[in-house]
Subunit: 318 residues, 4 copies
């Protein structure tokens, strides 16, 4: 029922990964039922089927980029909406069974996003080790504990849980790496605007790409809507056919974002609304603050222009 | 009182010129009081002062261009609005006192717009005659009748009224020349939309002219608002400072024009609304028909997008 | 012969007007033959015919706007180019035969541009006088001297020459009014770039005016070419068909203006080049200084990009 | 040595994957030394180090999207250029040790791109099987052959080589799926233009993303350069900082692409040229043909405009 807080949560498992850690930063989830899913698709499907109220899945990582499978799942099938974002610092360690020395490591289990983020460290310290992609950071730790691999790249909590010894910590190439997760529900009224919101969209444009993408950006620029993220994913039809995932500043309830959304609806082949939700302020870094509206595009400017138009329409030109 | 049809009309005189002829094409004016004014400024001032309800003044000519004084008067002083346009074919004759032969003509009286429109004819047939600018076509005929000039360029009705002999008719270089007049009133609710309307604006932009004029055109283009006329007039402050007079397709009551107007209000230094009124269809020529809305910008597209946004806002993503 | 300084000058007469005064600010003209012409058309025709080497004609006035007849003459017929601009402060006096008192003035002779510029003064001081348009400021003074009119709006030199008494001086509404004149010759290599030049163009665009005019401005904006003036004139075919007269900053020999010109040539129905010539610095006012190139659009940026492209083309990616 | 055909090739291994198959479509490689690399990074590093002349690595897949690691490797480190693209249809089978029945399959080894492309088939036919990510299609087949997994998604050649029984063939959701590979070398003069070429770029833009990305697209649009691909990858600095990978139609030696490249160089924070090379025509499908230049943007239009500018510059206005 719309408005009712979710009580049954699902997340990208297994237990002990970053997704669980991210979910537990949400107060309602801390007190609720939390079930790991084997894949993003399974997590979202259980929401669609009504078996869960909300799913926490990864959207993107500041190093590894977009999580394609999440974007693909959101763009297809019955509509789902993001109601919250969680941004979590990512910290990796290299764990191994006690007694293993670094020079002895020949194979390293890692989730592909994890190995991507530790690429430089691996090159410098384990240039000859084979990196084996596994399904999750948790699986990597479990595999190393089971002796399948000599070592694992995993979260600190994963090393602890699987009694691995930490051969090296903070091995990520970028110490400020973060992962952004989305809490996804069945459609319902969006959370109320907070003044610093994000709206996510999946946009399909016509074939002539320069012109069409230019039109999309003009619809946003003319309303002073800022784009904080743009990702392209293939539609699967052919090379060169994309769906664009956009994150815009603002809320669907805002006048100017509403006007921009209507513009996109008109000029695009299709637009799928993926939710309006509060921006997660995980850092006070300058670049992450909301960008002030350009001249002429503040809410006050919009209100002034609307009042002026209303006066014109009734013949009041004073 | 808004809504009351005007009963006291003023027009750019003197009697017997194109402005009077244009005014008499308006049924309400045919039955009402009609007073000539000595200048455009005087005509508009009498409307501002409440001495007249409406003034008929020339806006532009398809050969001579904009009537600068009308534009300047509309842009300054208390607001006035155009409630109707009248487009009148322009036909010129060369009139002279009976007995004058064409080779004997050494001086020709003409309103500057008239001599501009007959330039080629004058070069070909009276290359050595002095053309004397006079205040109006009526004054030209009167001057020729009084013997001040050998001949006059005037309207056929002017030659008749002043008993001039027509030495040559249809002497305009462009046989299709027309003049466009505006019926101007004090502000009030605009006439209702007809589906083929014009909205006139005076737009002041910031100094950096490429960027600012580009912004103005983008606000219109993004909403599919067509521009049928753009004129620049100096603001008088300095060379290179202009006010732009725009005629757009659409009515202030239309959704998309309303959105574009709000956009202009936000990005321009100032916008003065000069009225929404029905387009005068004086010809069925192809180029003059209303331009159909581009893909995605029809009223139906706007309505669809608005309905979609309303659904999104209440959480209905079906 | 290209490169030979002109020795035979013609200017918009009669003698004693602002055009003659402007011409005499050009050193070469001061020592050369100077002939008044009866009209702008006549002046330009004598250059086209080879009877004169250069013509000085008015282009625009900071109050009255463009001089339509000059623009029309430049856009039609055999090509001519502007090789120099002259900007002259405009100062008007009201002159009358000695013994005339201001309250006794019932008729005022004035060139239409002059009466436009003194509109407020006339309204305040001679609200009931009839203003009679005459061909020139010189003709106004002559007419007042001959008793045809009670007074004349003219240049101070005109009052002196015709022995008129100055009833009021500095009567222009805007004390900073200026008129801009062009020195026009048959085509030849343009004067060399000075670093602060103007390029004048007449641009014909396709019918769909929002889109087409937007394209023109984009071609300029993308190259950082500033537009200091834009005027529209009817082409004469029908209402709503215009030729645009543009003044751009820069010289045809400049890389970035050359690139922009090629762009206009490609996207416009037609472009007529009207000359590159040094900007006349008639004032040190801040607003009139050349606008510095935006980021990425300076000559140095252009040179850097050209050098980079040359390296890429030969495979040098260092 | 630039111009010398490469004789030592490296490709993304192991043997028997699509990359080897793609490499062998290149005649020069068929006769040359071909070495598998364990990763894209290793392959490119061996070219940078001079141990190989060219590397064949995957760029993107029509279903799975961009191969992030390849893009990241091309954007960082010493410059490399793409000299050729190869597009290969992708066909997947489900292979298992002889005697395995489909219902008995509980675990499936697959490269993540492979499982993404067979998602629907897996959901429909093996909804309960665990999909295990492995490093390559070849590794999947080897793992199934070794009994580590019940089955493998692999190329037909992989099943043959590892003596697997094909339980199902053509299991990809999109039967037209293709993978696009790049042949990458150290910088040198690009292959000569063919009239149907691709130019690849990595573009870094300033922070304000709407405006900056809009500028990039305008630089291309104004020159009629079409964009066949746009991918964003995080720069690693923070969420919301991207490098864009663009594929444009045209060759660095073309006038209009050269002009657009210079424009990008000027407006972007940085542009890395990744090569100009012939488009691989793997299909005659309508959508894949080169898009003809828009009006005013053909090579002939460019040549005409350049000739016109040259005439203007020497004063020839005929």
């Amino acid at each position: 029922m719309p408005g009712t807080p979710p009580t049954r949560f699902v997340y990208l498992g297994p237990e002990g990964t970053f997704a669980e850690q991210a979910l537990r930063t949400i107060p309602a989830a801390e007190r609720a039922n939390r079930t790991p899913a084997r894949s993003v698709g399974e997590a979202l499907e259980s929401v669609r089927a009504g078996d869960a109220d909300a799913a926490l899945v990864p959207l993107e990582n500041s190093i590894g980029g977009a999580v394609g499978v999440t974007l693909d799942e959101l763009a297809e099938g019955d509509p789902l909406v993001i109601t919250r974002e969680v941004i979590l610092p990512v910290e990796f360690v290299l764990g191994a069974r006690p007694g293993t020395s670094l020079p002895a490591v020949r194979s390293v289990a890692a989730h592909p996003q994890a190995s991507t983020q530790c690429r430089n460290w691996l090159r410098a310290h384990l240039p000859d080790a084979v990196v084996v992609d596994v399904l999750s950071n948790g699986a990597a730790a479990a595999g190393a504990a089971a002796g399948e691999y000599d070592a694992a790249i995993c979260a600190p909590i994963g090393a602890t849980r699987h009694r691995l010894e930490v051969l090296a910590d903070k091995i990520a190439d970028h110490p400020d790496a973060v992962t952004r997760f989305a809490l996804v529900s069945r459609p319902g009224p969006p959370p109320p605007p907070t003044g610093d919101d994000v709206t996510s969209l999946a946009v399909y444009i016509a074939h002539d790409r320069v012109g069409a993408l230019l039109s999309v950006l003009m619809e946003l620029a003319v309303r002073g809507v800022n784009l904080t993220r743009i990702e392209s994913r293939p539609t699967g039809e052919a090379l060169g056919r994309y769906v664009f995932f956009l994150d815009c500043t603002g809320h669907v309830a805002d006048v100017r974002l509403g006007e921009a959304l209507q513009g996109l609806r008109r000029v695009c082949a299709d637009v799928r609304f993926l939710g309006s939700y509060p921006r997660h302020r995980w850092t006070a870094a300058a670049g992450e603050r909301p960008v002030p509206a350009p001249a002429g595009l503040s809410d006050a400017d919009y209100a002034d222009a609307a009042a002026w138009l209303a006066r014109l329409r009734r013949g009041d030109l004073t």
